[in-house]
């Protein structure tokens, strides 16, 4: 069929209006010395939230280099006070082993301060999609099954292209394939298995 009228894509996000971004997109992001420490904590928190190994979230190579910093700036600038509180709570309560953060994350997601609890969720989804669902939209969605959150806002187009949700699906973002003709005829190769990037269980 030709033209699908995807009414229900109203609730799906896709890439959002660039004009709403905090700060320039894709410009080099430099952090102050104080923020540099916070950035490392932010990565550890992000790994625990997303289930993706920290070194995969922040590879040392290629143009993706700036995206984690852009994500840091997005989360921090959304609400610097709550962001600081979230990081402080994580740092104070995290387990020594990066693979064993279930308890602290559980506490964060159930935090009495809803703004902290939902800021964490916004951060998780940002890594998955490259787009920002604001915490208050997520909080409304959790409270009301009929509430349609606003489509999310683009944080980084490179972040979209490297969005983790598509890797979790062993696929690629819609509109962005780096593969060759006919690849879809076969199952995804073993190299796309989630074991390649998921935080391993420690027995």
């Amino acid at each position: 069929m030709t033209n699908q009228t995807r009414r229900n894509v109203l609730t799906a996000g896709v890439i959002g209006a660039v004009q709403v971004i905090v700060g320039p997109v894709n410009a080099a992001v430099t952090l102050s010395a104080a923020d540099a420490k916070n950035f490392e904590d932010f990565l550890a928190l992000s790994a625990a939230l997303t289930g993706i190994q920290a070194k995969m979230l922040r590879p040392d190579v290629d143009a993706f280099f700036d995206v984690p910093r852009e994500y840091f700036v997005q989360a921090r600038d959304h609400d610097p006070v709550k962001f600081g509180a979230l990081l402080a709570f994580f740092v104070a309560n995290r387990a020594p082993d990066p693979s064993e953060q279930k308890t602290v994350i559980q506490s964060i997601l159930n935090h009495a301060d809803k703004q902290i609890a939902y800021l964490a969720r916004s951060i998780l989804l940002m890594w998955y999609f490259g787009q920002w669902y604001s915490p208050d939209q997520l909080e409304k969605a959790a409270a009301d099954p009929n509430f349609q959150p606003l489509p999310p806002v683009l944080v980084s187009s490179l972040g979209y292209a490297r969005g983790w949700v598509w890797k979790i699906a062993q696929a690629h973002p819609a509109g962005h394939s780096e593969l060759q003709f006919g690849y879809w005829n076969n199952p995804p190769p073993a190299s796309t298995a989630i074991s390649g990037f998921i935080i391993p269980e420690v027995k």
Binding site: T2, A12, G16, A141, L154, F181, Y183
Partner: protein, 623 residues
């Protein structure tokens, strides 16, 4: 305002730079005829990236999203643009919600019927086929003779059905030409069914598109299954999508984005033909130029088309004028073409509009009402990979049952649950907020970390969906007329009256029955999901094996029927060559001429008819 000045003259004047206009303009230009195209929207962008950027920046990725005009003020879904302010407005998917579909401040189409006409289109150079899927099916031989085959005393065929004034054999050669013109990938052996025959030695320009994992797993699961005596075969869908480099365009790389836009133009779109036509030097496009009246003289001859121009999509009108020609072709789609004809009153000389003395223009509007079901396959099928659709189930496109209910075809989606709910977003949101909108999170868990990755991988890799396109019966009351609401150029917007007949509902019921049987075959672990909107404009109640079921329908984007072709002037608007019965130098082309919609997506048949008519005009009218 003073009388409109003649600003341009050409051998052929075409209204609309969509696929019909582009193909015909190209044919005329190849024979060195001067062609002028009036296009309501902006010109072809210099660089395809212009549309890709619009796409990436759109907050809501509906089919229209890469293409102007703006749908949302500031990109915010809470502030849709009022269609009265747009100079070249159009219906969009955003205008089909329960609170917008019949609100003229939100909906470009003024909907007056019981049900929402749910298909949309785009008014820019290239037209709606910019955001088509690419499906290029031929009509079946019986599609052209529904009354001959399925009429009779024991038949429940609605009286709007007629035979086409053409047979499949008349179009076979032109289907081949169209397939070569736009570049269709398929294999003759797989496409020879239900009477579709090809000339000996015919081959599609490119081999068929490889089947997806979804197709293959579904074929395995449905092995040996029949529906009403028909085996359920998974058949590759012929498509205008390159499996080899073609016309200097690249091979499909499976961007999974055909609708709304292929990033690499491996999918054919009419800008390809428009650019070829422009390169001849014999075609000129006047963009941002909206035809406002077809001018007819006292003898019934078309002498000119009047137009209004603008520079900015919500800005003031900037110029008026008219263009003269020998031959006039209106190719503005099956809603905008009747709109133009009905607007053309010629100071009272054509009080019902042009080509409309018998008052058929605008009537018999049809679509393919589209029923979507989805679920979780027992085995992983890895969707979100490959073209959006690669295969279908075609067995119910024909049969004796058409005496009583609409035929249908089935398409198999490779994009998981994107269509029904906006996955992967919806499922991810569900597991992060503890909701169950996607129905994959029945326990309303909140997950994170490893557990979330594992769960989402499991959910996403098993998703599939099916869509059922039903042949809608031609009904006189389903029609396009002029509303009293205006657009930005002060021209009346189209009004649409739409409903689904018993015959069409019976077809939907049969489709719903097939869906149930397929899911029964897939097993208890695979419950059938379909969305009941619960709201009247897009919900219907159908009979599924004696039980009433409420289902939602969508539009397929197949807008058809409003200036039908026929054997005589007493019951049709145009002849089989798409020439108006009343005005001998006026042609009305596109899917508006189809007397019936059958089950094939219309574009290939539009192309075949246009190439046939262009050749005829060149041979007989423009020597």
């Amino acid at each position: 305002m003073c009388a409109d000045k003649v600003t341009h003259k050409a051998d052929v004047v075409i209204v609309g730079a969509g696929i019909a206009g582009a193909l015909m303009a190209h044919q005329f230009a190849l024979e060195k005829k001067q062609v002028l195209i009036l296009e309501a929207g902006p010109d072809i962008p210099v660089d395809w990236n212009g549309y890709m950027d619009r796409f990436f920046n759109a907050r809501i990725k509906v089919p229209e999203s890469p293409y102007p005009p703006t749908m949302l003020l500031g990109g915010d879904p809470r502030t849709p643009v009022d269609p009265a302010t747009l100079n070249a407005g159009r219906p969009t998917s955003l205008m089909l919600t329960p609170d917008s579909w019949n609100d003229p401040k939100k909906s470009y189409l003024v909907q007056t019927g019981k049900k929402a006409f749910s298909s949309t289109y785009t008014r820019v150079a290239g037209g709606s086929a910019l955001h088509w899927l690419g499906t290029s099916l031929r009509f079946l031989p019986t599609d052209f003779k529904m009354v001959t085959c399925y009429g009779g005393s024991d038949s429940k065929l609605p009286k709007g059905f007629v035979d086409w004034p053409l047979k499949y054999e008349d179009l076979s050669q032109w289907y081949g030409e169209a397939e070569n013109e736009i570049g269709v990938s398929a294999d003759v052996s797989e496409q020879s069914y239900l009477g579709v025959a090809f000339p000996r030695g015919y081959a599609y320009p490119m081999p068929g598109i490889p089947k997806s994992q979804v197709d293959q797993e579904l074929a395995r699961q449905l092995t040996g299954m029949t529906f009403e005596g028909q085996p359920l075969l998974i058949r590759s869908t012929p498509a205008a999508r390159n499996t080899q480099p073609y016309q200097s365009r690249r091979v499909c790389a499976g961007n999974t984005n055909c609708i709304p836009i292929c990033p690499i133009q491996a999918k054919y779109d009419p800008t390809v033909t428009l650019n070829e036509a422009l390169a001849t030097g014999f075609v000129r496009v006047l963009s941002r130029t909206v035809a406002s009246e077809v001018v007819v003289d006292a003898r019934g001859r078309v002498t000119a088309v009047k137009y209004r121009q603008y520079k900015e999509e919500q800005g003031p009108e900037t110029a008026r004028g008219m263009v003269e020609g020998k031959i006039f072709i209106v190719a503005a789609n099956a809603i905008e073409t009747p709109r133009l004809l009905l607007m053309s009153k010629n100071e009272g000389r054509t009080p019902n509009g042009v080509a409309n003395a018998k008052k058929f223009v605008g009537k018999y509007l049809m679509d393919h009402p589209y029923y979507v079901v989805w679920g979780r396959m027992p085995q992983p099928v890895w969707p979100y990979r490959g073209p959006l659709i690669t295969s279908g189930i075609e067995g119910m496109r024909d049969g004796a049952f058409r005496k009583r209910s609409g035929a249908f075809r089935v398409d198999i989606g490779n994009e998981g649950w994107t269509f029904p709910g906006g996955d992967p977003y919806q499922s991810a949101l569900d597991f992060v907020t503890g909701r169950n909108s996607s129905r994959a999170n029945a326990a309303k868990e909140v997950l994170f970390g490893r557990a979330l990755v594992n769960r989402l991988n499991d959910v996403l890799t098993h998703q599939f969906r099916l869509g059922f396109l039903i042949e809608q019966s031609p009904e006189e009351s389903n029609c396009v007329t002029l509303s009293d609401k205006l657009d930005g150029l002060q021209l009346p917007r189209p009004a649409v009256n739409y409903d689904l007949s018993e015959y069409t509902l019976a077809g939907l019921g049969k489709a719903a029955k097939m869906a149930q049987e397929i899911f029964r075959q897939l097993g208890n672990q695979t419950p059938l999901e379909d969305q009941v909107q619960g709201t009247e404009p897009t919900a219907v109640t159908v009979d599924v094996d004696g039980r009433q079921k409420k289902i939602a329908f969508y539009g397929a984007g197949h807008i058809v029927g409003t200036y039908r072709m026929g054997k005589s002037a007493s019951d049709s608007v145009v002849r089989d060559d798409m020439r108006s019965w009343e005005h001998e130098n006026l042609y009305l082309v596109g899917s508006g001429v189809f007397p019936t919609v059958a089950t094939a997506n219309p574009t290939l048949t539009i192309a075949a008819l246009c190439l046939r008519t262009a050749r005829k005009i060149l041979k007989e009218r423009l020597v």
